[in-house]
């Protein structure tokens, strides 16, 4: 059963001085409950694609359907966590996590309790009345995740949620996010620069090539690894081999980026 269907997307940004084609000929399908990663060097259009899937703007060409319906009409079913936490500094943590519910007028006691419960599950208790600047980067990232999950989206998109964190926090959050999403059976798309992270988290990896952004190759992660937690996957004997394959493929793209992670 196809849950998300992205069909023949082309996108060109027009500015006064030039026209940048960010995406060309993107088609992909995601089933319900799958975890997908977009991997690729900087500037290959990953954020652009997420924005289009989220219905924030129309692509120059192509369509995106969620359960057979055009996405522009059903924003509240898609949760999108941006590249940084973007918590509102003048709102408390509680006001921040309830923002989505307030905006789409679904704020009631039950939903409120649900959001607070999520916060507890993320290991954040007694922070409701604090302001974002009083939290560490990792804590803020978790709060942003709670804010996104609180509206109970059917599809969750995460744009490099862990890239600004230290290694230990990152490993910890990978497990936490993976567990949380699995327990809710959510469909998710993760954008990352980090091959190891992509392997650890996903069922399938789309490798993007730049200028213009297109899907270069698709890697299916073996069943065996999928069942492990992200941390165990990183230490699994099969991991190194898959990492090598993807690494070589990325090298062949002549990417300008250096990749931070090791298997």
């Amino acid at each position: 059963m196809t849950f998300l269907k992205v069909q023949d997307i082309h996108h060109t940004y027009f500015t006064k001085s030039n026209a940048v084609t960010a995406l060309s000929n993107i088609s992909l399908q995601v089933n319900e409950g799958e975890f997908i990663s977009f991997l690729g060097p900087s500037g290959c259009g990953k954020t652009t694609l997420l924005s289009i899937i989220a219905g924030l703007f129309q692509p120059t060409e192509g369509r995106v359907e969620l359960e057979g319906k055009q996405v522009a009409t059903l924003k509240s079913e898609i949760g999108y966590m941006l590249q940084q936490d973007y918590l509102f500094p003048w709102k408390t943590i509680e006001e921040n996590i309830l923002l989505g519910l307030k905006i789409n007028h679904h704020l009631d006691e039950e939903k409120k309790a649900y959001a607070k419960d999520l916060l507890m599950q993320m290991g954040l208790s007694d922070v409701e009345s604090l302001y974002p600047k009083q939290l560490s980067g990792g804590m803020r990232q978790r709060v942003a995740l709670v804010r996104t999950l609180a509206t109970e989206p059917k599809l969750l998109m995460l744009d490099e949620p862990f890239s600004a964190l230290d290694y230990q926090t990152k490993l910890h959050l990978e497990n936490l996010v993976s567990d949380t999403l699995k327990s809710f059976g959510k469909t998710a798309i993760l954008v990352t620069h980090d091959i190891g992270e992509a392997i650890a988290m996903s069922d399938r990896i789309y490798l993007f090539a730049p200028s213009p952004g297109k899907i270069h190759k698709v890697f299916e992660i073996p069943e065996e690894l999928r069942e492990c937690s992200p941390f165990d996957t990183r230490n699994h004997p099969m991991n190194a081999e898959i990492f090598q394959t993807i690494w070589k493929e990325m090298e062949s793209l002549g990417s300008q980026e250096s990749h931070k992670s090791t298997p």
């Binding site: 898609i78 941006l82 940084q84 973007y86 500094p89 905006i103």
Partner: protein
Amino acid sequence: MDHKSHTKALHNAYIRSLKKEKYWVRFYQLVIFLIFFSGWEIASRNKWIDPLIFSSPSKVWELFLIKVQDGTLFFDLGFTLSETILGFILGTLLGTILAAILWWSPFLSKILDPYLVILNSMPKVALGPILIVALGPSFTSIVAMGTIISVIITTIVVYTSFREVDPNYIKVLQTFGGTRFQIFKEAILPSSFPVIISTLKVNVGLSWVGVIVGEFLVASKGLGYMIIYGFQVFNFTLVMLSLLVIAVLATIMYQAVEFLEKKLIKNN
């Protein structure tokens, strides 16, 4: 433990040195105040400066007591103060509303851009005579002066800050399906509060200028009128009294805005 108590002793010494400095600052401020007023008094008594023009603190004080007793000072003061506060509030409010309208419609803002530049560079007090003809020589036209002098600059400054809000906050709201109004209310306005408050501070000063000039032109009461009247009948004690009262009132208003600032943006 020993090390800890040592640190504590050093900290106490540091706090004492801070207090001492504050004490000296206050002391010299007082010295300047006393030298200024006693110097003024002495120079005037000994006719080193023309007492008819520069008056003297004792004469100003006498006049102050007289005008307090017969109530005329509070009458003039109340008149001018209400004009200024009204002009100040209207200027800031209208400026912010105009900025919101410009933010709402980028197309309109492009159209109005050159007109804003012209209006802003124009010396607003020069519009005084026109306002008086249009609105009549009254309270209204003086308030209009106090308003018009600050409204355009407020519009420009606040609109600029509306536009500089990080677009990613807008994006967050859009991912939740936020409407343009919700975006304004949740992101644009609150993140511009610091700028709006700082324009308040500037507007305090501007509104005083507008109102005093307005009173120069038309009023038959108020502190500005006291200055002009004192000037015409060569009663400079009256002029000085009026100036001192204005200085005190403007300072109080400024302090009130600073207090408001501390209350409103403690979390940013």
